[in-house]
Symmetry: D3
């Protein structure tokens, strides 16, 4: 169950409203690496968490935090859209650069939302909830969370570099810091689960003798000329999960050219296929 | 540039065609944790890779491998669909369980593809390329790849547990092994980049003095009653990136209730909002 | 800013887990008339609300409530999926009806989520955030909310009629009651804004003398034979907004056959179009 | 069955083609509040209408009207795109404001459609037919239609305010007038069904004694500090459906912290969850 | 401008309602090869048609026909859904095959549409208007139409083979016949435009001396071992457009390994990439 | 099974990086007529091909070619994005036209991909794999391929006309040439299958005596006033499949106004519908 106090988690202040930056901020709301994604991802992971209940609580707690981040960003979008032109004439009468402002916004922010935020990305594409990864495997979920916070901080840094508005920079310094914490937090959760050697390969509940061990630690090469693929930590030394050693193998097809045979009558195929 | 030899990377053999299992296999083709995703993700990461060219080569190489996995699975789907009923009468005349077969397949596999595979998931939802994460940051990309292979192996294990067809079990033992390798491979790539302490926080090119350090390593609590959130590796000890120590902080709103003020005339708002 | 107490708003109890009903419940989570939609819709409306701040507070408050409904339903889905078969053999060995269970679930609930809820509808289609209507016009938003709660209660009633599990019936009696309230609540908000005669036509800030008044209250007929379209409250009497009287008019084209002329050179058209 | 006469319902005239306005008009074609949506929504509602056949006829009739609106807008888009630059050089050589024109259009209107309209919104996102609400409940459908026409008229007013082309203003005056009528028309249909007290709660066929009446007319508060949520018409007085009185109640969790227990073996969970 | 007479283009009669066949018919409504697609495709092609106006009229005329096909199929879906179980108990108490009926339908047809048709495909996925191909090139449009009617007739034949209901077979015999005509009709339109030698390559307005003629009629081989790709009409003889002769060429990379160099500072890349 | 040599199929050279042209090129990658579509379409057609195996090989071979085209275009996008502004200040300080550059790009190319290509179209919409047409009917597949290459070449020509960069022009001359070949190639495949008279109507395996022959070759008229629809090759002479002669027929409804009757109790309808 959830509660609100109507206030902002961190102050949101815009000194010079910039509608193009509003468009950029939309990526942090409705982009695949944005805040709707993490808020909903942590909640769905929590709601499906089996095993030690502390993970459910951990996830719900940070899910609630992220919901407040959407709120901060939505407020920032609306404040940046203040002053956007409402008509083509208004756009043109501004200075040459300003004349391009109407071009530069997601028109839906104006036409559909009346100068407010929407759950869309920086090109106006609505967020699609298939990006909520909640696998029922707590470790796989944590890797998805590390990935989400890594791409999320990359995005926040790009936004930070894009603006010179002091209020926006301050808000992004907070959000970048939170991404730092969350990357560390989900990595820490993987450590809590035993660290790489206990956690991997995910799921660790599947007996490795039931996989084809000949191929479990071999870096396969698919170069056209049969040359060796690039060497690196992935081609030699102990595997990260500690269960074997890496090797390299140039791959040859182990199967034949498949033949599905002829089509069945009444299956809508062309007569030549029957 | 890419080449083919028309053959299968690993033999695909179905002893007892099972149309419902064909539907399940579709998840490994067109699901968000499926093979189209990893094939395309590794390629787009390669095509945008800046810096040391070995990562481009590493990614393209494994991208080519994954393309061959789609081919294997597509063949497996088609072979499992052999014998699916083409008419409602045919479905009913089978044994009681068989009578439910037509219900159990994605009808598009029959109606749109003529008993062949499609780039859709196990519920018939087409794959959406927004799931291709290629961030331009090589480390963030690697975390996304670890996540993809983790959820991918979870899926492959579930498919393995679902079937008792010896051919399908053999094929999945190969694919599970490859997921083991690929989880290790991308973790190894993170080690090649210096390991957690060098890699995180991602992007490591952003100076941490420009983030709000007060919040960079604090586990924030959002419990309604102000109680402490669950403790764990994330709330104490050195941070994973080695840059600080974890702490816990009960969060209070630092911002006020935001007020967007009144709506502008001509913005399509209701008169009461002006 | 948001908080949680990890508890459920209302008890969720499943006496006889039914995986097919789990699939049906998914519609109430990720369907277009489901709870993700209303939770997010009320929040985005709040975050873009201009004018009297009480609407922001009203919307946030009920948004927090709806978030708790997703949590209840996600729990109900997971509980109903307990006991779902994990293998085709397990499915077949059950009784004839049970044999169809694996067919009847969204396979993603098993394959992608490990027997937990997902933000998808009852056919496994992920929720798309374009369904969040937040127009920047407070009255238009209220009509969208009445519609959402009306289709939402229709759905909840259908789910209630579908199950005979006492726990599920009890949970749905609560949710149906909340939909009753919310229909009334948003209608009440329209009354607070002045009722139909003040509110409509939406937006009421646009001067009606700038619309083509000849067509503002005419029910237009498009019958092929020029006969009159069906009569009703919409074709006679005072208009609902009180500004005029309804009439009926058989429509004739007022424009000509449009002609876009010839295509421009270099526009990729066929030579015959130039 | 449907017929055409190839002519336009209302004249479409563009004095000064403006490609950026063409982009804005796309929202009225393929936006969620656009004309494809209402045309298709009214038709699908008609095709599924059970009960008094006059509603089927009413809906089909207005569906045919809306189809003609798409045609008008598509013509307007094509006419506004006349004169758009076909090359980057052409774009740059124009005046400073014109130089931004190529930036400002949906490039697909040029690249995919050759300077014609597409079934996409103003940011180039294709219309998705999940926005067709046809619930099988005639009253719920009417509320969805009121919402569609309300957001539709808000959009049309914003487009009207954006342009100063006399032809476009005239066309939009017609469309705004039709939205006025359609808002009134669907409200009138709700009156034909008995007005608020007979219609609500929707569906009115479900016996209210089977809902949890304790919560049917209570405005629930979810403030973090337990303070009262905002008062208004929704918190006191007779309910809109006339069946009870509104009250306010501060909500406490009625359920416990849910516990899904341990994961099943073979379900792909991590060993720690079993 | 469009008109209706509320009647069906061809009789729709269902002798034995079959909810699973209703699900299959949905593919012909909202599948990518279904009737919404062709209706909307022909209309958007018409609305963007430049050059000889007879193509606009031809397209609008057949667009109106296809709209009537959606209506027929929607009626057929609703009639087939009559008698579908509304509860799980009702489903189970039927005969063993009937027990699987609830599993076999798109649950949205029941839960969202109340036993009526929806604009979705046979797996419940909503139709997405990006499938409307209207290129602004009249010949390219005709090829898209031939493709649409070809896959459309394949689908209709599969549906015809799936049912033994005399009413449904009769309806499908009509729709199959119309697909026969429409395949021929759009092929005839290509002949009207001059036939293959005048029409191809599309667009025929682009001077072929501005393409790289060395590769315009060469069938390129990409076999891993450098062997020749399969021979056929495509590898020898005059080209279909009559402009040259086919040849075969084993392809070698003409470009080098690309190198994007190092990432820019402030671009969010990892330090190692700078 | 697939292989790579890391090299480019054809040189990709950009003399004057142009971020707006990068955006345009995205359409050729992730647009519905782009290279992801053809690469994946040819592969899925191959993987489902039944009958003569040479079609499988033909399709895989050209699928491998198209994969190399995505690689070329992705490289071209990244090279064109070099020099795009990373901040709003940088954008403004450029010349007036340059000032609009940041507006003109898909912001995701910068924010999500760090100045690299993405699998999205020119308006930032991700590619959706429902555009992969693989019908199980080899002839229908070929018509889909002709359509894909026709719209593909129209797009390539528009891109060619848009740029004056010599490197980009050279690359596009190659791609346009390949589209010429591929149009011819798939037309040749249709000839290999017997040419129009053997191939059509597709599927040719369905006996035409089981369609309603009265309507198989009649061009139907749906003009409101009962006038004749436009004449052309489609209304007279032998049909393209050679099986009959074209005629014209003014259509009258052959069915009645459908009546779905009253709604079932417990189906969630309004009481008035029961």
């Amino acid at each position: 169950m959830f509660y609100t106090d109507n206030k902002l988690q961190f102050p949101v202040r815009v000194e010079k409203p910039n509608p193009v930056f509003a468009r950029a901020l939309q990526q942090a709301i409705g982009g695949v690496e944005g805040e709707i994604r993490v808020a909903m991802q942590y909640m769905f992971q929590a709601w499906g968490a089996r095993g030690d209940p502390k993970f459910r609580e951990l996830l719900l707690n940070t899910g609630a935090e992220e919901l407040g981040h959407i709120e901060m960003l939505a407020t920032a979008v609306a404040l940046n859209l203040e002053g956007a032109p409402l008509s083509l004439q208004e756009a043109v009468s501004a200075d040459p650069v300003g004349g391009a402002v109407l071009n530069g916004i997601n028109l839906k922010n104006l036409l559909s939302a009346g100068l407010s935020a929407m759950p869309v990305d920086s090109d106006g594409v609505p967020f699609d909830m298939s990006h909520i990864y909640a696998s029922g495997n707590i470790a796989a979920d944590m890797t998805a969370n590390v990935a989400a916070e890594s791409t999320g901080r990359v995005l926040a840094v790009r936004l930070y570099n894009m603006t010179d508005d002091p209020g926006m920079k301050e808000m992004l310094q907070y959000l970048i810091a939170r991404d730092t914490m969350h990357q560390n937090q989900w990595m820490a959760a993987l450590e809590e689960l035993g660290g790489p050697q206990d956690v991997f390969p995910i799921p660790n509940s599947h007996p490795q003798e039931e996989e084809n061990r000949e191929f479990s630690y071999a870096f396969l090469g698919f170069q056209k000329d049969g040359s060796e693929p690039p060497k690196g930590r992935w081609s030699e030394g102990q595997s990260i999960d500690g269960n074997d050693s890496f090797s390299t193998r140039l791959m040859e097809p182990l199967g034949e050219e498949p033949n599905l045979g002829r089509a069945r009558p009444n299956s809508g195929a062309q007569a030549e296929q029957l």
